[in-house]
Symmetry: C2
Subunit: 451 residues, 2 copies
C-alpha cells in the first residue's frame, strides 16, 4: 500500500514515456499520490520529467509539482511555457500554492503567467497573496475558505456551504463573519451536522477562536498552532476582517524547515542542502564555516606561537592543547544549543538573564570539578608531573566555566537584537571558545612555570 520508489520502477516508466504510450504510463503510476509522483520527477532527468509530466492529468501533475524541492521545481518550470504554467498548473492549485510557485519565477515570467490565468478571481487572489512576505502569515495563508454570516440559520448555512465547498478541497472549520466580513467566530462541521435546520448560527457558533494577524511571523503562526493543537487557523487584517486560513500541513513543512535550518547551523552548514544535492552545492554550503574554522585555527596558531619558547622547554604543555580546545568547543556548543532550542520552542521560562547565567556558572562548575579532578588524577598518577597536573586541571575548569557562560550569553544577546540565535551555534562558538581556551591554558602555564 505504501509506495516504495526503486530504480527499476523509474527505468520501466522511462521506457513507457519514451514510447509516448499515455495509457500504459498512467497504468504504471495508478493509485500513486502527488507526493509519490514528485519523488519520481525528482529522480528523472529534466527531459524525462517533462515528457512524463505532460502525460499526467493536469491536477495530479500540478499537485506533484508543489511537492517537489524548490530547486528541482525551478529547473523544471524553466522548461515550461508561461501559458502551460497558467493553464495546466496554476488553475489547478489552491491560491497559497499558486502564489508560492509564481513567486519563484522571474519577474517577467510572473507577469506572463498571471496574464494567462483565465479565472479572474483566482488571478486576483494570487496577486493579493504575492504581496505578502513569504515567511509571514500572509505568505502562508490560502484564500480558499468557507464562511457563513452570523445571522443566517443552519439550513441556509448548509446550502451556502454546499456552494462554497466546491472551491475548498479540505474543509475543517466554517468561519462566522458579520456583514462587514469581520471574523466573529467559528462553527465546526460536526456542530452543523448535529444542529437542527432552523437554529440560527448566532445560537450555535463558538465565539472563541485562536487567530493570527496577517503580518505575524511564520514562527509565531507555527508556535500558536502547535501550542493550541490547531489544524487550521484563520488570518485577519488590522481591523479584524477575515482574509484567509492557514492549514497545519503548510505549518508542519515550515516547522520542519526551521528545525532543519537550526540543525544545519549547529553542524556548520550554511544553506539548506540534502545528501542528494550535487557535490558543488554541498561544498558551497560547507565551505563558509570551514573558513571560519581555518581563521580560528590561524589565530590559535598565533596564540601558541606567542608561547613558543615555553613549549620548547616544556613540550608536555603541547600534549593537552587538543584536550583544552575540544572541551572548550564542546561545552560552548552544549550551552548554546540549549538556549537556541529554548528560544525556538518558546520554553525558556520566566527566569531573567542573570539567573540563567548563574545556573550556567553552576553547571560549568560541577562539570569542571568532575572533569578537572579526573584529568588531575590522570596526569598525577600516569605522568607524575604535579605542575602540569595543576596547570591542565585549572585551565580545564576555567575554560569550561567560561565556555558555558559565553555559549549561553551569545545566543541570548543575538536574539535580543533580532539576529537569528542559531548563528551562535556550531563552528562559530566552537572557534571562539577554542582560541580563548588555548590562550587561557598557555597563560596559566606561563604563570605556573614562571613562579
Amino acid at each position: 500500500m505504501q509506495f516504495e520508489l526503486t530504480k527499476e520502477f523509474i527505468e520501466n516508466l522511462n521506457v513507457l514515456v519514451d514510447n509516448k504510450d499515455a495509457n500504459k504510463v498512467l497504468e504504471h503510476v495508478e493509485g500513486l499520490h502527488a507526493v509519490d509522483i514528485a519523488e519520481i520527477l525528482d529522480e528523472q532527468s529534466t527531459e524525462e520529467a517533462k515528457a512524463f509530466y505532460f502525460l499526467l492529468p493536469d491536477e495530479l501533475g500540478a499537485d506533484a509539482l508543489i511537492e517537489l524541492d524548490e530547486d528541482v521545481r525551478e529547473r523544471f518550470l524553466k522548461e515550461i511555457s508561461s501559458e502551460d504554467i497558467a493553464e495546466k498548473i496554476i488553475d489547478n492549485l489552491d491560491t497559497d500554492d499558486a502564489a508560492d510557485l509564481i513567486g519563484e519565477l522571474s519577474e517577467e515570467k510572473q507577469d506572463e503567467v498571471i496574464s494567462h490565468i483565465e479565472d479572474i478571481e483566482h488571478a486576483s487572489d494570487i496577486i493579493d497573496l504575492l504581496l505578502y512576505d513569504e515567511d509571514t502569515a500572509g505568505g502562508l495563508m490560502a484564500k480558499e475558505l468557507v464562511k457563513v454570516k452570523i445571522d443566517w440559520d443552519v439550513a441556509t448555512c448548509i446550502k451556502e456551504i454546499k456552494a462554497q465547498s466546491e472551491e475548498v478541497e479540505k474543509m475543517y472549520t466554517v468561519y462566522v463573519v458579520d456583514d462587514n466580513d469581520i471574523l466573529q467566530g467559528r462553527i465546526s462541521l460536526k456542530k452543523l451536522l448535529l444542529a437542527s435546520d432552523n437554529k440560527k448560527v448566532k445560537d450555535v457558533y463558538n465565539d472563541e477562536v485562536v487567530l493570527v494577524k496577517v503580518d505575524a511571523e511564520g514562527e509565531e503562526v507555527a508556535q500558536r498552532m502547535d501550542k493550541y493543537d490547531l489544524v487550521v487557523i484563520p488570518v485577519i487584517d488590522e481591523i479584524g476582517r477575515l482574509l484567509g486560513r492557514i492549514t497545519i500541513d503548510d505549518v508542519v513543512d515550515f516547522m520542519r524547515e526551521e528545525s532543519d535550518k537550526d540543525y544545519q547551523m549547529a553542524s556548520g552548514i550554511s544553506e539548506n542542502v540534502e545528501s542528494s544535492d550535487s557535490a558543488w552545492v554541498l561544498t558551497r554550503a560547507r565551505l563558509p564555516w570551514l573558513l571560519i574554522g581555518l581563521f580560528g585555527g590561524i589565530l590559535g596558531a598565533q596564540v601558541i606561537e606567542a608561547y613558543e619558547g615555553q613549549i620548547k622547554i616544556h613540550p608536555e604543555m603541547a600534549f593537552f592543547i587538543p584536550l583544552i580546545a575540544a572541551m572548550a568547543g564542546n561545552v560552548g556548543v552544549q550551552s548554546s544549543a540549549i538556549v537556541v532550542q529554548g528560544l525556538a520552542n518558546n520554553s525558556l521560562g520566566l527566569d531573567g538573564i542573570g539567573k540563567k547565567l548563574f545556573k550556567e556558572l553552576l553547571v560549568g562548575l560541577i562539570n569542571g570539578a568532575v572533569l578537572g579532578t579526573l584529568i588531575f588524577a590522570y596526569n598525577y598518577f600516569f605522568a607524575g608531573d604535579l605542575t602540569l597536573s595543576i596547570i591542565v586541571s585549572t585551565a580545564l575548569v576555567s575554560v569550561i566555566v567560561f565556555a558555558a557562560i559565553f555559549g549561553t550569553l551569545v545566543p541570548l544577546v543575538l536574539d535580543k537584537y533580532k539576529i537569528d540565535p542559531a548563528l551562535a551555534t556550531g563552528p562559530f562558538i566552537t572557534t571562539v571558545n577554542d582560541v580563548f581556551g588555548l590562550f587561557l591554558y598557555l597563560f596559566i602555564g606561563y604563570l605556573m612555570y614562571a613562579t
Copy 2:
C-alpha cells in the same frame, strides 16, 4: 488575545489561591486554554499548583495536565490520590492521553487508578492501549473514532454519527468498515453533509485510505502523515480491523521531540533537557559527552607525547595542532549531519552507499584544496617555512577527506544495524576525527622532517 504569562500574573493568582476564593481564581484565569493553564502550573511550586489545580473544572484541569512536561507532571501526580487521578483526570481524557498518563505512574499506582475508573469501556480501552510500546502507532493512537458500516445509507450514518460523536471531541473523518470491522475506506464530513439522505455509503465513500499497522514505528507514522499531508490516520491490526486513529497534533509533538533529540545529540546533550531544568539535570545531560571528549583529549595527548622529541626540535609543529583537530571535527560533524538529517527526513535518494562516499570524497577534495591552498599561502608568506607549509596543508587535505568519508560512513552503518544514527553526530564524531587527525598530522610531519 494571545496569553502572555508574567511573574505578576502568577503572584496575583497565588494570593487568590491561598485565600481559597474559587470564584476569584476562575475569574483570574477566564478564557485561558488548557495549555496556558499548564504554563501556569509549570511555574508554580508543587504546593501552589496542587491548590490551584483543585479549584479548576475537572476537564480543564485534566487537559492542562496532559500539556505539562513529563517530569513536572510526574512530580505533580505523586501528590494526588489514585481515586482523584481516576475520577478527576482519567475520566476526562481521551484514551490515548489517559494511557500515556497512566503509563507514567508506578506499577502499583497504575492498578489502583485503573480500579477506580468507573466507565468500564473507557478502562478496558486504556488497558488495551497500555499494551503497546509508547513509540509505535499503537502507543500513539486513540480509541475514540467515528465509524459507519458500508451498507448503511447516509441518513442512518448521520443518526449514528450523532450518537457516536459525543465521545469524539475532534471529528475529521468518518471511517467505513464492514461487518467484521475490517477497514474499507473513509468518508469525509463534507461529503456526508453534501450527499442526499437515501444514498448508500458504498456509493459515496472513498476506498483509498492511507493507514498504518498498529506495530509501525512512530517515525514511520510521522513520515507518512507528513508525506501525505494527513490530519488523521487510521490504525489497523494484522487482519485489517480498525483499532484506532492518530491525530496530527500528537504526531507534531512526536516529530518535534525527535528533531529536538537529534539536535541535542549533535550538540552533545544526552537527555531531553530544557533551559528551565535544574542545574543538576542539565549537568547530568551534559557530562557523558564531555567524558567522551576528555577521553579523546587524553588519547590525543598520548598521540602527541609519542612525537614529543620532534616537537622539542620543531615547536612550530605545535602551532597547528588546534587547527588540524578543529577542522577534522568540523568536517566530520558536517558530513554526519547531512546523513542524519537525510535519514530522518527520508530524503537520501536512491544512490547507493558507494556513490555517496564518492561524492563525499569529491566534496572533501574541493574543500581540502581550497583550505589547503589558503593555509599553505599563509604559512609560506607569513612564516616563510616551506617544510611546515607542506606538512600543514598535506595534513589538512588528508584530514578533511578522511573526516568527510568517516562522517558519512558511520551514521549509514549505524542505521543499517538499526542503531540511532544521531549517535554518530556531535562529540563522538568530533573526538574520533580529532584524534585521528592529530595522528595523521604528526605522522606526516615525522615523515617530512625525517627525509
